[in-house]
Amino acid sequence: MELLKRIYKFIIIFFEEVLSTAALITCASAIVIQVFYRYFLNISLEWPFELSIYAYIWTLYLGAAWGIREGHHVKFNILYDALPPKVQKMINIIFNTITTVVFIIIFKPVWEYLLFNYRIKTVALKIPWTYVFMVFSIFLTLTIIHNIEHIICDIKSLFTNKDDDTTGDEVKY
């Protein structure tokens, strides 16, 4: 059980922190390479531009999933902060459930659509679209996982009757 937990943690951190950072570095380096080639060597490369935009999409969705895990996302919190912790938790449970259900419903058609696009390849790198945009399905999966974690965390603290301030916004590993 302990081992399973560690593997699980490893996978999540690999996707959200390691892979997103790697994608960001790739994105920035690709543009720098392109600028260098164009202005100093007078060669116009096509692939760095494409690589950078796809790396950006990967950074975006993996980073966003990471943000969901740590509760970093921007929200309108004037009213929310004024509510008692119990109400906050109930609101979170309801909304997280809605999101999870919606994401589960769209998961299958989205995945099928991505597979359907396998024959379309990117212009310069010739990578099938499925691989490039697969990150969206990974994002959906990670979000569903984190939302369920948040929901469980909130329900638990709602029933333990502790009136503390901790909401399930942040899942600590």
């Binding site: 997103s20 994105c27 929200k75 909304f95």
Partner: protein, 429 residues
Amino acid sequence: MITIWVVLFAIMFIFGYPIIFSISVPSMIYVILAKISPAVIVDSMVIGFEKQFVLLAVPLFILAAKIMNEGMITERLFSFANKMVGSLKGGLGHVNVLASIIFSGMTGSAIADASGLGMIEIKSMNDAGFNPEFSCAVTSASATIGPIIPPSIPMVIYSMISGASLGHLFIGGIIPGLFLGAAMMVYIAYISHKRNYPAGESFNMRSLIISFFKAFFPLLTPVILLWGIYGGVFTPTEAAAATVFYALILSVVGYRILGFKKLIVVFKESALSTGYVSAMVAAALIFSYIVSREQLPVTLTNMVMNSGIITNKYMYLLFVNLFLLLLGCFMDPIVGELIVMPILIPIAIFFEIDLVHLGVISTLNFMIGLSTPPYGENLFIVSAISGVPLGGIIREMWPFLAVLTGVLLACTYIPGIVLWLPKLAGYVP
């Protein structure tokens, strides 16, 4: 269906559900209920990004700002600004504004300015005998300049929404930004005489030159950026990449402040920030798909036309200003931009308002919003790093807000302030 969409969005938003979900989930429910193929979601939220290459500038500017804040570049700039205007009456107040102007030529977000420079600025002002509330207010107000003077993340997003040229938007922000700085300095001079704030160390040409050379390489950043964009050498995205590269060379090789471990931390933090800033953009793409599918801009334009109140572009600009200022009191700039601008822009086109002009004034509006209570992120940041309670800062903030709003109105009704430089750079309105 449209009712469910609007109501669910409003409820989720008001009750503090993260923005990325409160704008995307109701839209997805709409797609499911309307029996549209969910392929639309992928098309707009993922594949749609392929065409928005201007957005690539977002992660790059985030990265550049983080590297500069970590790499001690801020301190060199502050010391240079101090040697330059510190000897004036109320010297450090002026230094604060000047340092923000220089720093804003390197970073694209007000938050980066307030948190990076703010620490040094507030501390040295307090040590010199300014009252802490005033120091915080100056810092919060001067950070507003950040996204007005290029580079600017809000302008990148505006450019994506409106299709206006990012390069021209950037150039259009230069004069309003300098104008803002000058207006604030006038107010600081006035208040310093009234409250008898101290002048800093006396002016010394030699130490100015020394501090100039110490700050020389960081000072080159805005020069490279502006020269590149203005001269048409770089696209804004490429300029952003060049800035990242230059900042890296400076702080890793030049000043040797950023080690490998710290560098990885900078990259990781930037990946996280990129994630939550850009995910809102992605969510807004599906949101605006529904907005245009329901033809909301058309409906609203008709409503505005038939209301008989807003009949010309001056009235409309006034309405936009008031509306955005009010919105800014409650909303994060990027969120506000993403939700509201797709609706305001078509009406502006109808009134033949120049989109670069509108872009600069809307950015200015949202930036003022960062310093307005009850929800002003700059205020929260300066309060957090200084430990001064919000109430006092807000009291000192009102005159600054009046100054900022004055500049805003000037830029709104004298389009030349915004459009003169872009026109020189070949912009045809």
